[in-house]
Symmetry: C2
Subunit: 98 residues, 2 copies
DNA sequence: TTCGTAAATCGTCGAAGGACGATATATATG
DNA sequence: CATATATATCGTCCTTCGACGATTTACGAA
């Protein structure tokens, strides 16, 4: 090892890779599209739309939230998810800059 | 299986997810940026730039090629890799359409 | 408080990803 | 042909991902 001097994965690369990973699953892409369509928010409708167990969908939502692409707001016993326009815009900007 | 009626992951979602997955690793993002900078092509310089074993880099390149983001052309005993402008443009378009 | 619904978390399982060294393949050159 | 270099492929080892059911948590309503 130690060929030259560049072990740093360049934070920018890491950032884009992390965001891309969040979209690296068809179910999560679908969720994003779903939230993009309905300007408002959605609750457990997402579970109904995807054909996956509730726990699985919850995990996908967690990943999208962690990536900053989706936001969740408590609304009574349910949670209102909505697209993070800023997060998505940031991702788009990173991709466009490629 | 067969819970409701929407088992189709909507080819479009699959496609974007597949492309995103190809970029879901910092090393691959770096390779793409590398190839984007140098208009021409590169050979084993990629191995030197990334700090990974040759076999590992080869695998990353394979993934990028499979995704249609990179093309390789035999050039003597080495291979000239170049960015697939079309492939990247397609990806950008899919992301922009989100 | 008890009940019902929505969501998150936990534990498990199998599949896929990512890394490596070793080896195989291909090609130009001596 | 033998050698040197550049890539690809193989086999292995861990880790992470993705799915599930079961359980827990949180809240509104009866």
């Amino acid at each position: 090892m130690s060929k030259r001097t560049a072990p740093q994965p360049l934070a920018a690369d890491e950032e884009l890779a992390t965001l891309a990973k969040a979209l690296a699953h068809p179910a999560r892409v679908r969720v994003l599209r779903l939230l993009a369509r309905r300007e408002g928010c959605i609750g457990c409708d997402i579970v109904a739309d995807l054909e996956l167990a509730q726990s699985t969908v919850s995990e996908h939502l967690r990943i999208l939230k962690a990536a900053g692409l989706v936001e969740g707001e408590v609304d009574g016993p349910r949670i209102c998810y909505r697209l993070s326009r800023d997060g998505l815009a940031h991702f788009k900007a990173l991709v466009a800059a490629l």
